[in-house]
């Protein structure tokens, strides 16, 4: 028997999320069993199954997000940037300087 991962959408506006797995000999049976294993109380409006063997894990998941300082990638590193940008633009405008749209080097 194969293991099938089961995914659900709680409402039509929700993203598909993983809710669990069922054992089943084939796809047809997996679809039949997933319904009643996870949805018999009306937990969702949509259900998908996928063979576990068709899913693949990334290498070295423990290093996801990096291991050196990446705080600059988080939104809180940029609080007040909009206000600063406005200040810089008005400062530049008062000196008659404009920044062109930068393009990649060639």
């Amino acid at each position: 028997m194969e293991v099938w991962e089961v995914f659900s959408r709680r409402t039509n506006d929700d993203p598909l999320v993983h809710v669990g797995a069922v054992s089943a000999p084939d796809l047809e049976m997996a679809l039949v069993l997933a319904r009643e294993t996870f949805f018999r109380h009306g937990e969702g409006v949509d259900c998908w199954v996928g063979r576990r063997g068709d899913l693949h894990r990334v290498a070295n998941p423990e290093t996801l997000g990096g291991v050196t300082d990446k705080t600059y990638r988080r939104a809180e590193g940029y609080t007040g940037v909009g206000a600063k940008l406005k200040r810089v633009h008005s400062e530049l405008a008062s000196r008659g300087i404009a920044i062109d749209n930068p393009r990649p080097g060639r």
Partner: protein, 294 residues
Amino acid sequence: MSSDARLGLLLAIADDELVIGHRLSEWTGWVPYVEEDLAMSSIAQDEIGHARALYEIAATINGGTPDDLALGRAMADYTHAVICERPNRDYAYTAARHYLYDTADAVRLEALTSSTFKELAELVRVLRIEERYHLDHARTWFRRLASGPVEARQRFSDALADALPEAMTIFEPLPDEDALIADGTLPKPGEEMLAAWLDVVGHDLEEVGLERVMEADAEAPVGEVLPTSSGASEVADESPRPLRVPGLERRDGRWVHTAGFSGAGGRSGHHSEDFAPLWEEMTALHRAHPGARW
């Protein structure tokens, strides 16, 4: 050990990372598809982050700040390999250089894990964890483009052949290499790391039937970079050494570096005209507003 030699080693590696990171960052927003744009941009940020970590150690030696080291030096004080400053051209060249640079960096970092320079060895162990992803990414593109449709394979192998001679200069000996070797700061000479890297690259190329890349560079000009036209004379070597004989030779089934480098001189601060506009842009804010904070 003179701390100057250690400072020189740190700056050479940090400058490589900073300058190639800057080049890769130029792709942000322009890569042909968004997932790859994010991946390449992350790699660019990683390289610049690694440069920062190296400048932080360097700053403890020379008493400056990491910002001053990264952005406050004259062009001729940067000692990155010339390959790092070359423009991105197209994605074939970018991917080819990315592969060559990151495989070379991997060889260098592996050697440095056994450095007697403790702070550096410790940092390198952390950096290698992130570099592993850079290698995965570079190798995935390498295999994909090398076995891709005819045009992809052709453009990628041309780009590899273009980039390979200059990529070898990543291992151009540092001015103080003898001193660094003597006290174990640098566990292996540049030539030894170059040989290890040529093995890796040669093997990868043979696996995809692109050995011609290794043969192509025998005709590449050998010697130091010499800016040709206006504008960048301040980075030119005032008394260029005579051109040396190439390059790469195949002996007993292995690629061997015999003598000379094409596009050498980066480790002594000699750069191509391509570096001037990069330096101008990269350091503009720091020069206009010293000490500015975001």
